[in-house]
Symmetry: C2
Subunit: 264 residues, 2 copies
């Protein structure tokens, strides 16, 4: 999906840090950065990335999320990566034998939103592609976050787990109400125009012989008016529709005049 | 994120078809299939995929979403791909000059859920990586769906757009309430055990000389009881904590007996 409006300034609102623990693939780091950018997150932290940093594949896969990539912070340990935070959520698709709250994305982001709204600093931990977060990393966190996936197919790509939480963050922080563009349904035409259109249609259909049985005409007229009313035509669309009817009228006229000549 | 429970049977509930129009990269088709599988969708339709079908890269990127990949249907045109559907939503990040409803993911999926719940068949159209859906494809649809992204960074990868809508579908169809696993916070210990723990702690702190000024002791006891109460220890955790206190008691005893000897 294209649609980026480059005239718009990038926003750096307070939001949770996204902390990737020992990410293996640069592609995933880049895709995570892009997902964050889509929903307005920008604080990306890497703990001991396997292929070091900077990473060309990450840049390539971020598809121009430079404002996230350029701000990436790299840490040697999770402890250093979360040092300044006051709330940490750990994402995992596996149950851990730990007495911690387990939250879905909505509740998790509602809590993050309240914490950050109150001036706190929060972050979300994401684990390794192959085996997720280690128990000591989960133990560091205040709550476990898991996604409402199919139990029979629960494995999410890291960037996609980041995307879901970035999206929920945006919803819970009230930013999802505004879409990038709105609809333009247009004012429906005044009923007088619509009724004029109906009468025009019906008189033409009288000539074309559409109403085969006169006693059925009233019911059929009601059906026609019902089906075309649902479309809620604008004045322009009423004119367009009458243009169609007029073109039928003209065909009809031509045939009648032809027949006239033939009768001479 | 790992966590797939292979013992669980795959579910094929009624849901919207995901229709990718002229997808260019097999990687994206595979990632879309995986995203669908994560949230329980399975009807994937491809319109004229650039590299044909089957596609090895799609299979590789679907990471075992065989139940989606094996059911993929390929069509030559969008018209054929949507022939059996009664409701079509078109995803786009660009405003189109068309008089159609424009919905966010929540409203779109609420509508899909109602339609499918009533026995209707629905689908969601996704456009090409490079330039999205063509106007004739959007014109075919009943509504436009767009995501609440940052205007300054609106371009979503197709698989990620599929993921957000699959996730919202799951939320709006009420399946997101159940997480793959629940929490196990455990019963907090009966207050008698907790108070016993407090008294043990406080008597030990009396010996260690923690309470320097006797008149401040009551207030400090309240603060200690408050901070440890928040943790809502289980009976096991109370025993663990008392073990910590006992170990301090023992150190204290050893020192006193040493001092005793030295006084001889």
């Amino acid at each position: 999906m294209a649609g980026t409006d480059s005239s718009q300034a990038l926003q750096f609102r307070p939001g949770p840090a996204v902390i990737l623990c020992e990410p293996q693939l640069g592609e995933n780091i880049g895709a995570a950065a892009r997902a964050m950018a889509n929903f307005g997150l920008w604080d990306l932290r890497l703990v001991n990335p396997r292929d070091g940093w900077p990473n060309e594949k990450a840049v390539a896969n971020a598809s121009k999320a430079h404002h996230v990539i350029d701000r990436v912070q790299v840490f040697a340990t999770v402890e250093e990566a979360v040092a300044d935070l006051t709330l940490i959520h750990a994402t995992t698709a596996r149950s851990r034998d730990m007495r911690k709250p387990v939250l879905g994305p909505e509740d998790a982001c509602l809590g993050l939103s309240a914490h950050i709204g109150g001036g706190g600093k929060a972050g979300i931990l994401f684990g390794r592609e192959k085996w997720g977060l280690l128990n000591p990393e989960v133990a560091l966190s205040d709550a476990i976050v898991t996604l409402p996936v199919e139990s029979a197919f629960a494995s999410l790509n890291i960037a996609q787990a980041v995307l879901i939480l970035a999206y929920e963050w945006r919803r819970q922080s009230g930013l999802a109400e505004t879409l990038p563009f709105g609809e333009n349904i247009g004012e429906p035409a005044p009923k007088a125009e619509v009724i004029g259109m109906f009468e025009h249609l019906e008189s033409t259909l009288d000539k074309t012989g559409f109403f085969t049985t006169p006693d059925k005409r009233p019911a059929m007229v009601n059906n026609l008016r019902t089906m075309f009313s649902r479309a809620r035509f604008t004045s322009q669309e009423v004119r367009t529709f009458r243009g169609i009817i007029s073109s039928i009228d003209r065909v009809h006229e031509r045939h009648r005049s032809k027949r006239g000549k033939n009768d001479e």
